[in-house]
Amino acid sequence: MELDDLKVAWSQLGRGRETLPMGIVSTLRDGKLDQTRSALGRVAWVLRYELAAGVVATLLLGSFLADHWRTARFLLSALVLHEYAVITILIAARQMVLLSRVDFSVPVLTVQRELTRLRTFRIWSTLGLMIVAPLLWAPLAIVGAKGLFDLDVYRAFGAAWVWGNLAIGLAVIPLGLWLARRLAARNTRSPRVAAFMEMLSGRSLADAKRYADELARFATES
């Protein structure tokens, strides 16, 4: 059998399936086709949420910094958190720009390259933010306790508590990565948990790299 013979089978597969599903017709007539959920639409919502959360955190921390800039121990902790929030904003904004450039009506290879660039950037940046996050527990406790309860953690628990938490944060990073690798290999019912574990374990990054190579090969192979 040749590829041309398969054309006959292909045309038979299409027989009886030439009409438009009524769901699509009615959704269009009701003017609701724009509201259909899409994979990229979900990413756009997550990015809006990340951007908004970053802006709120930056404003709150800015206010805290203005109140406590003379006290070095509060200043340092708040500055670390403030920089983290600003970086979150920049990362979300960069992804929103990349996402806004995606036009599905241009050639497949162009769109897939843009999406792969976006995906790779998202994986790297999320991975970076997640790895650093355990170290932020101590500054967050210092700033949160002072800002919310006017409690000075340094004085209440001592410097040893702060250094101890930083050490635990450092230890959690390799432990979390090891756990992610273990869990990524197992079957998880939740697709979100599975995707998160794949990202933390580096599998998503390897997959994105593999797909980028495949796109390059598809374009240049002659």
């Binding site: 059998m1 040749e2 590829l3 013979d5 398969l6 054309k7 006959v8 089978a9 292909w10 038979q12 597969l13 299409g14 027989r15 009886g16 399936r17 030439e18 009409t19 438009l20 599903p21 769901g23 699509i24 017709v25 959704t27 269009l28 007539r29 003017g31 086709l33 724009d34 259909t36 959920r37 899409s38 994979a39 990229l40 990413v43 599905f104 009506s105 241009v106 050639p107 497949v108 290879l109 162009t110 769109v111 897939q112 999406l115 995906r119 079957n187 697709p191 599975a194 995707a195 794949e198 599998r203 998503s204 997959d207 797909y211 495949e214 796109l215 598809f218 374009a219 192979e221 002659s222």
Partner: protein
């Protein structure tokens, strides 16, 4: 002008719907080729239709609608497939998709060995090769395939030639008997 004889031009929705009805086969085939389950296929058809409508304002009527539709449909289908967890990305054979014909008088094709072989062959391809095979089977010209995928016509010809060799090899194997 006499209002009784005035001809109202169709709205963008009406124009879009007419074109979509005319090219509904593209919607079904792309969705069936890239879906994992029957539910996925219905969702994907809806998502493709939504993205087509969103992009319709940028469609140039001087160009072929089918080429434009293939681009959008394939981009949406491949992107939707890649957005799911890597582990869930495996393809389900087309025969498991419940691609029930809309027309109940349509013949049952399950017994046709050519259909079974075609399904098995497509199931074994990656996302980009699936797009290439789909366009070839839809009898698109090399020029149109190149325009949809964004590669040269020479590249299309080379890839089709390789796919033909692969089919001969695959279908000559014991699995085809």
């Amino acid at each position: 002008m006499d209002p009784d004889t005035a001809v109202t031009s169709p709205t963008p929705e009406e124009t879009f719907l007419a074109l979509l009805v005319e090219h509904a086969g593209i919607l079904h085939k792309v969705a069936a080729t890239y879906s994992r389950t029957a539910e996925d296929r219905r969702d994907l058809e809806q998502e493709i239709a939504a993205q087509l409508w969103k992009a319709f304002s940028r469609y140039d009527p001087e160009r072929k609608f089918s080429t434009w539709m293939y681009r959008v449909a394939l981009n949406v289908a491949i992107s939707a497939l890649r957005s799911v967890s890597r582990r869930d990305r495996r393809f389900v054979p087309l025969s498991d998709l419940g691609t029930e014909p809309v027309d109940p008088r349509a013949p049952d094709l399950e017994d046709d060995p050519r259909v079974r072989q075609l399904r098995r062959f497509i199931d074994g391809l990656g996302e980009l090769d699936r797009a290439l095979v789909l366009l070839y089977l839809e009898e698109q010209s090399y020029r149109d395939i190149a325009l949809v995928l964004g590669i040269t016509e020479t590249n299309v010809a080379t890839k089709i030639s390789r796919l033909k060799q692969r089919i001969r090899k695959d279908l000559a194997g014991p699995a085809s008997h």
